[in-house]
Symmetry: C2
């Protein structure tokens, strides 16, 4: 169990932004006024993104709920304000903790922030950690012997930068080669390089969704906030097993497997990186930052961290949040000092991919009560609104990946992804190919339709042939027996077996138990949910009607059941585009309260109850 009681002891801020109606927000105490405003859509001026360096985020605290002067003067405030201004309540918003209820005046922006649309209806103000600054410097002389690095840093005096050795090596050479007209490359507080001339237009980042099955890379233009190229490929770790447990097992059986799995993941990332750079016609040297979202096992493996404690009780991670790394730590050949940000994880089975998803869907800012379900071998569930969030993981098993299904396959060409019994059998097949198997969404559709026409009963059993002929005469002849099992033939060799139905029942029961127990923990009923978000590549293809019919998701009006797409990748993009969003991902670790289901006495009863459709 992590986090404290959600929403407990929040403080309220009344934000008075010039030319806008007052806005009241509540945040955990100690959060900076800058973050509190930014998270709630009130833009505060800043070029450093809230790092206490640019001294542009000036606000005035005009009223406090606590003792007067409750907002302390930070060490940098005296450098930004006169003593009179300090007395009048002026503070740098990024260094001003919201320690009690406050009223805060926010001046109009001096620069119009650029914004981009990312995630699920999210509008994000562009504030990447990667900055470029073109400067024209005075040439040194005997009366001006200021060292090269200090000369450059003096021209960037709104930032407080720590130079990488790489930049120290470059600075003198590049300045002299480029007539003292250079571009400083900054990531967060680090000066990572100095480039000749004006390269400020060339600023790229790379977002990875490192899935167990599929890995997606998106190359982003950080100046425009737009994607330049997207590529995906199968994770090269596939030969070591289809799911995380089999890959963890591989490392436990063979001491050399960890290095091999690490290298396979790195090769996957590197290959994708070079592909998107080529497609986008961007030099890999101009990619200065990487953000990566993945489940805990994938993150452990790509970093070469032993995943064994994730796989055996008590299921412990090495770390929830990781330090900022170098892209080269992930085996990437981009700018040699490019940084890498790994999205934090909530727990061994609610990983950085789910945190990224919660970020991309704005789970912590939406006032509506929403249910987020990432359906897969391990199913992650998040429930709540801006005030309170709960999360859990449910072991759904491999039904949705097609692994334990007789004619199961991944969602690729030839997979049946939709099934309608009208009463004739209408199939949607991926890639307009001949059907060769059944993927997860097709499985749910098939079961759902067979339930609707009555060929499956509520307990999940195929009805006797006689009853089938009575209930659905056009379909009854498709019931057959393969081996000792009853099956329903969908097309040619592709059928749905009795055991397949059982697999789906187990998966569905695990997931439904998960969200039902979360609802109970939250103290709300199913009917109070205002939106269901189906995440992950599987969720995107799932038919809302079928999902409702088999009881996988609450019985909402269908338009309220939304496919959220690849939200893990969207979350990684958000982290690249905005340092605030990145901070928001870390904040989610405190905001989301993890609920462990496996030690609950009522789990098994619920689970058995929910096996029926």
């Amino acid at each position: 169990m992590t986090g404290e009681g959600p929403g407990a002891g929040r403080v309220r801020l009344r934000l008075l932004a010039e030319g806008r109606p007052p806005k009241e927000v509540s945040v955990p105490p100690g959060v900076s006024v800058f973050e509190a405003a930014s998270w709630n859509g009130v833009a505060v001026d800043s070029t450093c993104g809230g790092h206490g360096t640019c001294r542009k985020c000036k606000v005035r605290v005009t009223g406090t709920g606590g003792p007067a002067g409750a907002v302390p003067v930070s060490r940098l405030d005296p450098r930004a304000f006169t003593p009179e201004q300090l007395r009048d309540g002026w503070r740098l918003a990024c260094l001003a903790p919201a320690v009690s209820d406050l009223e805060v005046e926010v001046p109009a922006l001096s620069t119009r922030p650029k914004a981009a649309t990312v995630g699920v209806g999210r509008q994000v103000i562009l504030r990447p950690a990667v900055q470029k600054r073109y400067v024209e410097l005075a040439e040194p002389s005997l009366s001006d012997q200021v060292p090269d690095l200090e000369r450059l840093l003096a021209a960037l005096d709104d930032l407080e930068l720590t130079p990488d050795l790489h930049a120290v090596r470059a600075v003198g050479r590049v300045m002299r080669a480029a007539d003292f007209k250079v571009t400083a490359v900054v990531v967060d507080d680090a000066l990572i390089d100095v480039e000749p001339g004006d390269t400020s237009g060339s600023r790229y980042g790379l977002a990875f969704d490192l899935g167990t099955t599929t890995v997606v890379a998106t190359l982003l233009d950080l100046s425009a906030g737009t994607p330049v190229a997207v590529r995906s490929m199968l994770n090269l770790q596939q030969p070591y097993g289809a799911d995380v447990i089999s890959r963890i097992s591989a490392t436990m059986l063979d001491p050399a497997a960890l290095d091999r799995l690490r290298d396979a993941a790195r090769e996957t990332l590197d290959q994708l990186a070079l592909e998107v750079c080529k497609e986008g016609e961007v030099s890999p040297e101009h990619v200065y930052e990487v953000a990566l979202a993945g489940n805990a096992t994938m993150v452990h493996l790509v970093l070469g961290v032993d995943p064994e404690p994730l796989g055996v009780a008590p299921f412990v991670m090495a770390a929830r949040a990781l330090p900022v790394l170098l892209a080269s730590d992930l085996g990437l050949r981009l700018h040699p000092r490019a940084r890498a940000v790994v999205l934090p994880a909530l727990g061994a089975y609610v990983g950085g991919d789910v945190v990224a998803g919660a970020l991309a869907t704005g789970m912590d800012r939406d006032r509506r009560l929403r249910l987020f379900i990432d359906v897969g071998t391990n199913c992650e569930i998040v429930l709540g609104d801006a005030d309170r969030l709960l999360a859990t993981a449910a072991p759904a098993g491999p039904a949705f990946e097609g692994a334990q299904i007789r004619c199961g396959m991944r969602a690729s060409a030839g997979a049946i992804e939709t099934v309608r019994l009208t009463p004739s059998v209408e199939l949607g097949v991926i890639g307009d190919a001949e059907p060769v198997g059944l993927c997860g969404s097709g499985l749910v559709d098939a079961v759902s339709e067979l339930l609707r026409v009555g060929l499956l009963d509520r307990s999940g059993r195929f009805v006797p042939d006689a009853e089938a002929v009575r209930l659905a005469p056009e379909l009854a002849d498709r019931l057959a027996t393969v081996g000792r099992e009853r099956v329903f033939t969908l097309a040619g060799e592709v059928y749905l077996s009795q055991r397949d139905v059982r697999e789906l029942q187990f998966a569905k029961a695990a997931i439904a138990t998960g969200w039902r127990l979360l609802l109970q923990e939250y103290g709300v009923g199913e009917d109070e949910i205002q939106q269901v978000l189906l995440a992950g590549s599987f969720g995107s293809y799932l038919s809302p009607a079928s999902a409702v019919r088999i009881g996988l998701v609450p019985a909402l009006a269908l338009p309220r059941i939304v496919s959220a797409g690849n939200v893990a990748g969207e979350g990684a993009k958000l982290a690249l585009l905005s340092v605030q969003e990145r901070a928001g991902a870390l904040a989610l670790l405190k905001e989301i309260h993890y609920v462990e289901l496996s030690d609950r006495p009522d789990f098994n009863d619920r689970f058995v109850d929910l096996l029926s459709f």
Copy 2:
């Protein structure tokens, strides 16, 4: 010219330490109360060394010379004190800037600090950046799934640490292998490793004096503050030239030379590192930090930074202060994440070796007016006391290295290092060997003695034979002619030539012009100097009487002319032993005012005047 008018606008602190008489100190405004106290020998409790993390350095501001409440409340103060305590003036000393005159109560230390003696009569309180903490952790369980890293960090909650990826990789494996009894390895704010069991007794650092000619390595036990092993060797860059200018030239003539010089320096450091570890029976993996002092050219070269701008007008460095590096950036094979601190430089010709020397001799804390002279091809001079410091560089030429001297040689076996004419010729020879040449101190002695007996006149000319016979009949037959030059035979083939005397005259005139102009700039007379410190391996061997007689140093009573030894190496040791001293080295960049001599109109007149003995 760097720095501002020294001593200008300082603030005064009255420090009231429990059980000690009040102490008044003056420091530049903005310096933290912690540093102001530490620099002036008043110990303030701290386990983090003034990094704002341990919250132990509690002091009470009882009076201010400015507006009440002039010491701002820092962001961490509310976490260390109650609102009442804050109102009463309690502050964390390391985050409290001395913005105006203050009176400060310093509580007694709760832990007795260890101290070590380093440098020239310096007593330093041991506070290395390298810390080790042994902890015994609770084993995780289903009801306690705290991740491994967080479990460890929670046991170190007086520190705010950023873990290296290396530590993230180690933490889970080491904890489980060692029954959750582990030692955290911390350097500054970084958690660099986790070691099984209790290794807290094994904590080492390595101090380098990276000289152009000689490189010295000292392995230090950071727990005890004592040296374990010392080794020196010739810089493997020697084949590229004897002095910095010839090495800079090498890089300008051959594009591949920079890499080769870098590698030669690294190989020198690495070889010494392995030697001292072997001698001290210390595993290189237990060396967690390195401090390096060297002149600007040596530092540029070892880091692979192009030194050309140092060698040509306007003589510009890449950087005065460098970021914290990894020891591996210097080619060292120690702990893989060992850090490296390079002592900062004041300018292209007043390098980190001189800053280290000023630190080791306490130039910025001694109340006496002192003159520090590092004699060498480039001679660095520092003049001043705790209130004000001036520095300059004088190009002495290679006389002291023996390079341009007919029978000159380095101070190694067979070199004449002392000369007495009593009136017989008494020679001190290094290594009790037959004399084969004359090193710098022998040169100064020989000239000084020949002046005393009258065989050299004040203008530096050998007197005519007839006069020689009259003045020193026992020595006159040693005057001879070699080629077209008059010489004085010291022993066998070893002689001092007329041109040798001229070389020394030039060197001595350059140095004497340097310190005389500094005295003038400082506004004091030669007779006000209370101590002369002769630094560097050359200074250590120089006879004070001879140095005075030829006018190389001011004519002080001989006991006031002190050989300071290898102060650059001592400064590097200080930086390893104490984070305060390390901060002190950086502070010296602001405290020492650099005086450029070459553009002074009176330089040449002075120089010519001082050519005579």
